[in-house]
Symmetry: C2
Subunit: 341 residues, 2 copies
């Protein structure tokens, strides 16, 4: 096999896991050997990696023997159980679950925002929440330019955030509604087809959902700014795979829409789509299957002198999960000789 | 016929017009005679009013001879042409278009909020924009209790806002997407099925859509508070007939979530649905075909000491349009002898 790293993808059969494989292939990540791991129900099944067929193995601690980079597309409990096993066996784990994100000993990284934090990892690097990743990519350059004091964000989140089962549920329920059949919610607490659900993850005592608190706490950690004030409302919408966010920021120094547009046009990972009269603004339909965060509707906040509004869209499975994790893996291997990550 | 008023519904065959008829019937509005008017393509067709069948007539100036109350479910240009003709013939016109809403000589009324403004009409009463109506119903009692200084609102607006054609377009496009067919947008600038469009009405030079500016300017007029600062982002979502809004308010006096809940629970036209852990929160699916504004997710804004967040849903065709207009008509006829409105 080609020179490269021994890589494992854990949870390879889920929506994010599949996207990990797609993105690793697309970006030509240097792979010497690739293990695809999942729970035992998948053991022995074949999944595609480009033109190759790979055999899924059950993820157990011993699976990580010899693995150098382990990408986890697993839920919190599975990550908590297996990530330490991978690290114990010498792998660097990049984990997409929320299990380790707020641990002060573990870096939480968005490569366009805080690539330097990869430097102090002790075996685990956490991949942030999808809405948070899409949020911080444009927030970082604006914060650097004008110091954001406060942000109010309302999200419009795709069903892919609930994995392959979420995608299936929207499709199935939509067919059922059109056929006049009754709906039995499964992944989501209520019907999501032609509906909105202001409930993602579980609720804390303060009335916020965990998803909302992730946006607050993860953003502060990624930006290294515990004073940043953020108010989030997260809402599930009947869209397949791109999240959108309506963002309002208040800055210390006035940021005109023109200045913000110029800053964002030069920012890594951002595409400015902002000519509303020319019908140019970001939409989930056109940001799906792309790696960038699309930003538009940039305008003065009429309710606040130092305020600015904008609208963003980004693919939840790609930049919101897989692309960001593979970019972290690229940071690990760049500028370092193979086998010395 | 029963004792009552001679009423005309103009644009009776559209989504809002149909809802006017439903709501007039449901609420037992005192009607002596009902004319259903539309453009000439509908002339002579039958439409239902409860168990009766009414014959649609082409709306022309002479249609309003003898009419006492004319409910207009027409667009701006049609309202501009016909509303003055109705008034000239002695009718009071309640107009759902945006044509007259910001005219200082014309009251803009939400009966739960500013019923007194009906008192100074000179023949025309404007029915506000749907998102604005749903917004001001809970905003008013909170403003009275704690003085709102600033509000940031992001909307999630149903396709019924674009009338019967909008409803058809979501249904047709959804079928087409499921069948793998190509989509030709008609009413909306882009595909709305499984998508979001941050564009409602046309854009002004300041980067805001007219829909967003309606929320700012109409709210100020209805609340008689030109100092109220409002920042709005309005977004079309693939939902049939209920609008939702994520609202953030900053008040002069601190309003705890408990106090806000108590105020809203006693407010006219509001239903509080707020027990997120018990899976109780407003959703478009369950607020459709109701007249109230449903409010939940009431919580402290973590980014602002005097801040409060909440989430609301309400039926766009009912409280957002028809119910509000019929309530205005009820204000006109209550406490007044028939034939003296």
């Amino acid at each position: 096999m080609a020179a490269g790293y021994r890589v494992a993808v854990v949870g390879a059969t889920g929506a994010v896991g599949q996207e990990f494989l797609t993105v690793l292939k697309e970006r030509g990540f240097p792979i010497a050997e690739l293990k695809v791991l999942a729970d035992e129900s998948w053991d022995g099944k074949q999944i595609a990696f480009g033109d190759e067929q790979l055999t899924v193995q059950t993820a157990v601690p011993e699976s990580f023997r010899g693995v150098e980079i382990a990408l986890f597309a697993t839920n919190g409990p599975v990550s908590e159980a297996l990530v330490p096993e991978a690290v114990k066996r010498g792998a660097v784990a990049i984990d997409n679950s929320s299990a380790f994100r707020l641990d002060p000993e573990i870096p939480l990284v968005v490569p366009e925002v805080n690539p330097q934090d990869v430097g102090w990892h002790k075996g685990i690097i956490a991949n942030p929440n999808c809405s948070t990743i899409l949020f911080v990519v444009p927030i970082k350059p604006l914060h650097d330019a004008a110091r954001i004091k406060r942000a109010v964000v309302s999200t419009y989140q795709a069903v892919s955030g609930a994995g392959a089962a979420g995608l299936d549920e929207l499709l199935t329920q939509t067919r059922q509604v059109l056929a006049g059949e009754s709906i039995q919610p499964g992944v989501f607490p209520y019907q999501i087809a032609f509906n909105l659900i202001p409930h993602i993850d579980v609720f804390d005592e303060n009335g916020y959902s965990r998803e909302e608190m992730k946006m607050v706490l993860e953003t502060r950690k990624i930006l290294h700014d515990q004073n940043l004030k953020i108010s989030a409302t997260t809402v599930r919408v009947p869209v397949f795979r791109s999240h959108s966010e309506s963002v309002n920021i208040e800055t210390e120094r006035k940021l005109t829409p023109g200045a913000a547009r110029a800053i964002l046009a030069g920012a890594p990972g951002v595409v400015v789509e902002d000519d509303p009269r020319g019908l140019k603004y970001p939409m989930p339909l056109f940001s799906s299957n792309h790696d960038e965060v699309f930003v538009g509707r940039i305008r003065d906040d009429l309710s606040c002198e130092q305020g600015l509004n904008f609208w963003l869209c980004g693919d939840q499975l790609r930049k919101g999960a897989a692309t960001n994790a593979v970019q972290i893996a690229e940071l690990l291997v760049n500028d370092r000789p193979a086998r010395r990550i």
